[in-house]
Amino acid sequence: MSAEPLLSVKNLKKHFAIKGGVFARNVEKVYAVDGVSFDIGKSETLGLVGESGCGKSTTGRCILRLIEPSSGEVWLSGQDVMRMDGSALRSLRRDMQIIFQDPYASLNPRLTVAAIIGEALQIHNLVKSKKELEERVVKLLETVGLQPDHMRRFPHEFSGGQRQRIGIARALAVEPKLLICDEPVSALDVSIQAQVINLLEDLQEQFGLTYLFIAHDLSVVEHISTRVAVMYLGRVVEIAPSRALYDTPLHPYTEALLSAVPIPDPTVKRKRIMLQGDVPNPIRPPSGCHFHTRCPIARADCAQRDPELLEKRPGHWVACHYRG
């Protein structure tokens, strides 16, 4: 990328300690995020996909420092996020916001919609009067396709899709540059899912937003993303422009993952690469390449050597000894 990236993540790690024994010492570690690096350019959407427990959500939360990372760097428009604290961090959070997966659990049931959306505006002193606050909330509700009179209602009066719209309005209130979308549509029915995806696309165009779109659904990620990063057991195994990744996946895990997605067309018959077994335990991830225990093309040295994420084709990075 020629231009300065908006967000730059370098060798991010998060190891959760497991306490045990007599004095609750740290006995083991979960390697949730184990050296993740990527850049996101302005107005770009980077999709982050992987199966449960691969560390994609933890990565998103570490970037916002909702979870303190163990090590690594995060840069947002040239500012070092890891070194900030207190008020600097708070004002930085104006630039990055998050939308959560569960539209039922992420809205305070005791607050009205106006209070939920307006809270951040007040915290960041973005409005001077009550009247101005209300005007901003009405504007935000209209932006996400809700009615102005919805502001006096409580979250339980809305459907799942509408709640997700409220969550989006709340995130947009402080006019962020980067929006981290953590499985924003996976709790929604397909017809509603499409409404929310279209809304996110419209908002990106309208405000020039940058998205980190975290999801397990490969078809949704492919649809919305400019580039896609695939994670497996805490590491990025492949990162490429969306179409290149889906047309010519290089990593055997990406290939298997793509072939497992059911296609809603009975006339399409594909060869499926069936992965054996389950994802290994991230407490003791396999040595060398984390994927070697399930990999159809693994050779003896895959268990010894860590593959590096290398640019094998222009813009197409893959961490595999034998592909690309």
Partner: protein
Amino acid sequence: MAETLLEIRGLKTWFKTDDGMVRAVDGVDLHIDRGETVGVVGESGCGKTVTARSVLKLIDMPPGRFEDGSILWRGRDLIPLAADEMDKIRAREIAIVFQEPMTSLNPVYTVGDQIAEVLRQHQQLNRKQAIDAAVEMLRLVNIPNPGKRVHDYPHQFSGGMRQRVMIAMALSCKPKLLIADEPTTALDVTIQAQILELMQEMKEKLGMSIMLITHAMGVVAETCQRVVVMYAGKVVEEAPVEALFGNPRHPYTQGLIRSIPRVDRAAEQKQRLEAIAGTVPSLLEPPPGCRFAARCKFAMDVCTKAMPPLKEVGPGHFVRCVL
């Protein structure tokens, strides 16, 4: 013509709540023939799960009640059947696999005990024989090292392995019909592929029929021969799988198919998704006409006046729409 195993006619399963009567299933007709996999699709609250549970009479009554209709199992109506008669149908003739492999196993018993319990209840086996049979079932569903795993507790299994245990349990009495209620929804996509393949393999080995309840159109396209689409307690379309995806006739089915992004179309021009506007109507007092009318872009005056009947538009292709 294949033998019809299950025939549901005009089924109405309603629930009494403080706010009034919820018409969860409101006049559903569907049938399943021997050896067939039938998909029942629809979004949350369309009545697909209640239909499935009604077949095994797993609905709490009250608040639920069968308002009308019949459920014919090989010609015999299950609705008036006494509890002990129903026990002979469950597991032996019709078995069910639930969505949540985490919550549908008892955490304080070993999986072996839980499979053996089903076997001992329905077949004259002693404890030793039942455990041996449980080991065989675990082997059948490809759980590695079944002789040892049979003594493990549910928490020692991963999500995919638990779903295999659930399938082993459901198939232990060799049922003729397996009802799978969102069997892969809680699973990752690579594990989902494993479970769907297992179900297909089991179907061929045991010669049973499957009623697959799901909201995932992709899963339906890959596993079913015939599909029933439900919306707000009603069947809106029924067709062989090729016809449903190749030539969907109901505007709701069309919307469902077009609203999903497709990975296999990555190379083509990216299109905006076609969302269906609005949300599912309340089942408390459903409007008199077509239940989809409020969200339908083709809706006309007549649509809000009377419920359109299911009409045949092609071989085995039925649609509930005036168009």
